[in-house]
């Protein structure tokens, strides 16, 4: 304390003297931040071995004792999700996992479970994604035992109470009927079908499919899929490690003996049923439009993932990217961005999105397309490449912001079938990307002739254009105006 005060005073005094004499200080303030010199940041990403414990029979745990806060946090994930819903029952996995938590358990009615968890200020959640499902827990450390036994009931003895099924179904139906309310929601609802056709990523929950889901369906789903034997658990908090491992093993002892195969890698970029290139104008009377210029791109295991992410960063650069061009230079869009989605197991979407006034849409789209074409025409400049790489490298430690976040990152590698030394080698992988690499992946993966231009908004405004900057949507391919039908059915 005293030393601190003395040092601060000494430093102030030094500053004061400089002020008085005007002499060059040892540390004058530079006139531009580009002249600042920073100490080296030594950051070694955590390695999985520190945290990983294989409890056998498919149960893998990433565990970290964290005595800094009196809390307990856990997540679990396993394979299987909504892509497995049978045709006509779309929404089944989502509803089953939601109601495992919301529908009460054999030992406790749903409202009593809510009340007990609220009393403890704890939370238990269950969820279904497209190819994975899971559960999570957060509570104060003192309540860990009680909350974990409630969790076991939720996972293995859900009651699926009829009144809660009705409530959940009504809420879902209400949401489905309102999914064309904004231009944004309309586009997001309809886009997957354009891209994926009848393949699982293109299938939608509908009023018919959700209405057809019965309690028997949920009970059967839970029995057959519930919690399979192979799963990855993350757990951190204020506990003793070995005792917690024993507790986790006991918690999941009731899980199904049937393992589920991991998600298969899929580097295809075309799926059956995808739509022809051209302009698809979803007509909705709104002053603002939302647009995506898009085609299928890569899955997470594509070897070009890293150079493509760098390309995407360049397309989103504050110096020269799509947003700079469309929003800052031209003042046209509320937002504009490029994207390279890379989900595990199937090709994601690649392209650009923007929202703007209806009559500016054609011109804004032409600017976005110009940028998407430019990146495959010539090499990006050194400064752009360096900005993209530096910003990724420098932001990278942010992914490990809490002990629990560290575990989740590492568990994802294992779960998604990525190399376990991914974070150890990422720095080198990013550093070695060259301008030639960016040009190559842009040419291989950005294919302007394949773009769908999907626009949600007022067709008359969009087609009318703006005399201040002439452009027409017909420049981007055959224009098909689509009158959205029933939002509930996604037609």
């Amino acid at each position: 304390m005293r030393r601190g005060l003395a040092r601060s005073c000494a430093l102030l005094l030094a500053v004061a003297l400089v002020g008085v004499t005007g002499a060059a200080s040892a540390q004058p303030i530079v006139d531009h931040p580009s002249k600042l010199v920073f100490p080296e940041l030594s950051f070694s990403p955590p390695s999985p071995e520190q945290f990983r414990v294989d409890l056998g029979d498919g149960l893998v745990v990433y565990i970290a004792e964290d005595p800094t806060l009196p809390t307990f946090e856990m997540s679990a994930r396993w394979y299987g999700g909504s892509f497995g819903d049978p045709p006509g029952k779309e929404g089944l996995a989502g509803m089953a996992y939601t109601l495992m938590r919301q529908g009460g358990t054999e030992r406790m009615a749903a409202d009593d479970l809510d009340a007990r968890l609220e009393f403890l200020a704890a939370s238990i959640g269950t969820w279904a994604g497209d190819r994975a499902s899971g559960a999570s827990v957060w509570c104060l450390a003192k309540d860990t035992e009680e909350v974990l036994s409630l969790m076991a009931d939720v996972l293995f003895r859900p009651a699926f109470a009829e009144d809660k099924i009705r409530l959940e179904r009504d809420q879902q139906l209400q949401a489905l009927r309102h999914r064309y309310d904004s231009a944004d929601d309309l586009l997001n609802t309809r886009l997957p079908r354009f891209l994926y056709g009848d393949a699982p990523p293109g299938r939608l929950d509908t009023v018919s499919s959700v209405s057809s889901i019965t309690r028997d369906d949920l009970v059967t789903y839970h029995r057959e899929h519930g919690v399979p034997s192979n799963l990855v658990v993350c757990v951190s908090g204020s506990f003793e490690k070995q005792a917690m491992l024993d507790r986790i093993k006991a918690l999941f002892a009731e899980r199904s003996r049937e393992p589920v195969a991991p998600v298969a890698h899929n580097t295809r970029t075309e799926l059956p049923g995808a739509t022809k290139p051209g302009v698809y104008l979803l007509n909705k009377a709104m002053p603002e439009v939302t647009v995506q210029v898009v085609h299928l791109g890569i899955d997470r295991h594509n070897p070009d993932f890293i150079p493509l992410q760098i390309m995407n960063r360049i397309l989103n650069s504050p110096k020269s990217g799509i947003s700079k061009r469309v929003r800052d230079d031209e003042g046209l869009a509320y937002g504009a961005w490029a994207f390279v989605g890379a989900p595990v197991g199937y090709a994601g979407s690649l392209g650009a999105g923007l929202s703007c006034k209806g009559n500016d849409a054609a011109y804004a789209i032409s600017l976005a397309l110009e940028q998407l074409r430019a990146v495959r025409e010539k090499e990006v400049d050194d400064a752009e490449l360096s900005l993209a790489k530096e910003s990724w490298l420098n932001t990278f430690p942010a992914a490990f912001s809490t002990p629990f976040a560290v575990l989740e990152r590492l568990a994802s590698l294992e779960f998604d079938g990525l190399p376990m030394d991914y974070y150890q080698t990422l720095r080198e992988q990013i550093s070695k990307v060259t301008k030639a690499d960016v040009l190559r992946v842009a040419r291989d993966h950005v294919q302007p002739e394949r773009f769908l231009v999907v626009i949600s908004g007022d067709a008359a405004l969009v087609q009318g254009g703006n005399p201040d900057h002439p452009a027409s949507v017909s420049e981007f391919g055959e224009v098909r105006v689509i009158e959205p039908g029933d939002p509930g059915e996604g037609t």
């Binding site: 304390m1 601190g4 601060s8 005073c9 920073f38 080296e40 104060l140 504050p318 420098n394």
Partner: protein, 504 residues
């Protein structure tokens, strides 16, 4: 000598606060506190688990400080703070400054021409606009667009953003721990040398934001109008984004004056949480922020206080949103002992197992959702309830059920179980708030702005001490008919209003 004396006045306090939680475990919160030579406060928490630092600058100025007729200025100004400085965002500031003055002059003449009685003089207006456009083009050629973004982005910063509250404006960014000096350079430069460039374009952006906000959120107009009826005199009655007409008239010189008055080091607190050394941070901050002079005059406190209300107020707003009933009562400002009991009361009413949800949603089945909140702000407080009316039921039914639940609090005070549920929830909320560096920095900043960051800890103890009888007492004291405002949001008819018809 003067400087030595100032050095002697430095306050450097390091306190380790063990906060005993209910289960007897300690949460250690080691906040190091320091005041720079120019009066700027600093709070630092060292947490070394990740090489990142959450940075916040809290300025103790917000929407409530907007001068009369210039509502929205604090918020507009927050936007302007990302446009750069005399160094950042420009190729040649001396030339740009001349263009900026030219733009100010032209804009003043355009505004005057637009508003003059002889606004038929469209030729003159068109000529002024042409000059204005040329000046804008000249300015644009001198700019380095998004330079602040670019510098921070290259450095690996995330979450560069800001927000405006009634009493605070908060600037935030998270940086790698080796880039503390970059943050100090950038944010001290912004405090001392902000340039309000492209001001009038940003003014339009804010108007768009206002329109979009209201169109995108159907409740926007309701809350704005409700608030304007709830307060009659206090500046809290005004929307932070400003009244549309005020925002359309605000000028760059007025914003410049706002900067000079409020963006001074002695009106700000710098909060750093993460992988850093507090001593080093204090010394570095003295180099960068310490060179900025303190305000010439002390910050003026807000004068107008909300007068006592003498009877129930009602308002009806039409919208396409779900129908809603809102009830709000005036309560004391932050710091009053009754605030804690009011907070606990909102906890008793809230949640799926709270009294409101159980009664209105689960049992009576007349509302889709319902919530209560208690907000003791710097100058005044508010206890409010909002419920979404379930289709097929009426506003009268929902209002009566809400009132009945409020009456019940005095007659049927919270049980031990209800009280314990609320205490547990407050405790867990406190602990959750400490998890991330940014979350902790925000909490420290909010309490510091209300007078003292230690309140973060003492408030927790005071909330724990609230009894069921305290809750019943404050319910009787504040939840009175003459102290309330009731708002109904009713569904707008598609064909427009019929005279004298029931428009629900």
């Amino acid at each position: 000598m003067v400087r030595l004396a100032r050095c002697g006045m430095l306050v450097l306090i390091a306190l380790v606060w063990p906060v005993a939680t209910a289960m007897g475990q300690d949460v250690r919160l080691d906040v190091k506190e320091h005041t720079l030579s120019n009066g700027m406060r600093m709070l630092v928490v060292e947490r070394h688990h990740t090489p990142r630092i959450a940075c916040r600058v809290f300025y103790r100025v917000g929407g409530a400080n907007d001068p009369e007729g210039r509502t929205g200025l604090a918020h507009l100004f927050e936007h302007m703070m990302f446009r750069g400085t005399r160094t950042i965002g420009t190729r040649d500031f001396p030339s740009e400054e001349k263009v900026i003055r030219r733009i100010d002059d032209l804009m003043a003449r355009i505004d005057a021409a637009r508003r003059s009685a002889a606004d038929a003089d469209t030729a003159r207006l068109a000529m002024l606009k042409a000059h204005y456009q040329r000046a804008l083009d000249r300015e644009r050629n001198l700019l380095v667009t998004n330079e602040m973004d670019e510098i921070y982005s290259q450095a690996g910063a995330t979450g560069l953003n800001a927000y405006t509250e009634p009493d605070n404006t908060v600037y935030m960014v998270e940086i790698p721990s080796n880039k503390l000096e970059l943050f100090l350079w950038m944010d001290s430069d912004r405090m001392a040398n902000a340039v309000l460039r492209e001001f009038y374009a940003e003014r339009d952006v804010v108007q768009d934001e206002r329109r979009l906000g209201h169109e995108g959120s159907p409740y926007g107009y309701f809350y704005e109008e409700f608030n304007a009826v709830f307060y009659t005199a206090h500046p809290y009655r005004r929307p932070i984004v400003g009244w549309e007409d005020d925002v359309s008239r605000v000028t760059r010189p007025q914003a410049q004056e706002f900067l000079r008055t409020h963006y001074t080091p002695d009106n700000a607190t710098l909060i750093l949480v993460g992988d850093l050394s507090a001593e080093d941070a204090f010394a570095q901050a003295e180099r960068y922020f310490g060179r900025i002079p303190r305000a010439q005059e002390p910050q003026a406190d807000l004068v107008t206080r909300e007068p006592v209300q003498h009877g129930e107020r009602r308002i009806t707003v039409e919208s396409t949103a779900y129908p809603l009933v809102g009830i709000a009562y005036h309560t004391p400002a932050f710091g009053d002992a009754d605030c804690h009991a009011l907070d606990v009361m909102s906890g008793v009413l809230n949640g799926k197992s709270g009294r409101l949800y159980r009664d209105l949603v689960l049992e009576k089945d007349i509302a889709l959702d319902v919530s209560a909140s208690s907000d003791g702000a710097k100058y005044a407080g508010e206890f409010s309830l909002f419920a979404i009316v379930k289709p097929g039921h009426t506003h009268e039914e929902v209002e009566a059920a809400l009132e009945a639940q409020l009456d019940r609090i005095s007659k049927d005070p919270p049980t031990d179980t209800e009280m314990q549920r609320v205490r547990n929830s407050i405790e867990a909320g406190f602990v959750r708030g400490l998890r991330s560096n940014g979350g902790l920095a925000d909490q420290l900043g909010s309490y510091d702005s209300l007078g003292d960051w230690h309140l973060l800890l003492t408030e927790l103890q005071q909330l724990r001490a609230v009894t069921s009888a305290d809750v019943a007492r404050v319910a009787g004291r504040y939840l009175t008919k003459e102290n309330r405002t009731i708002g109904w949001l009713v569904q707008k008819r598609p064909e427009g209003p019929d005279a004298g018809g029931d428009d629900r």
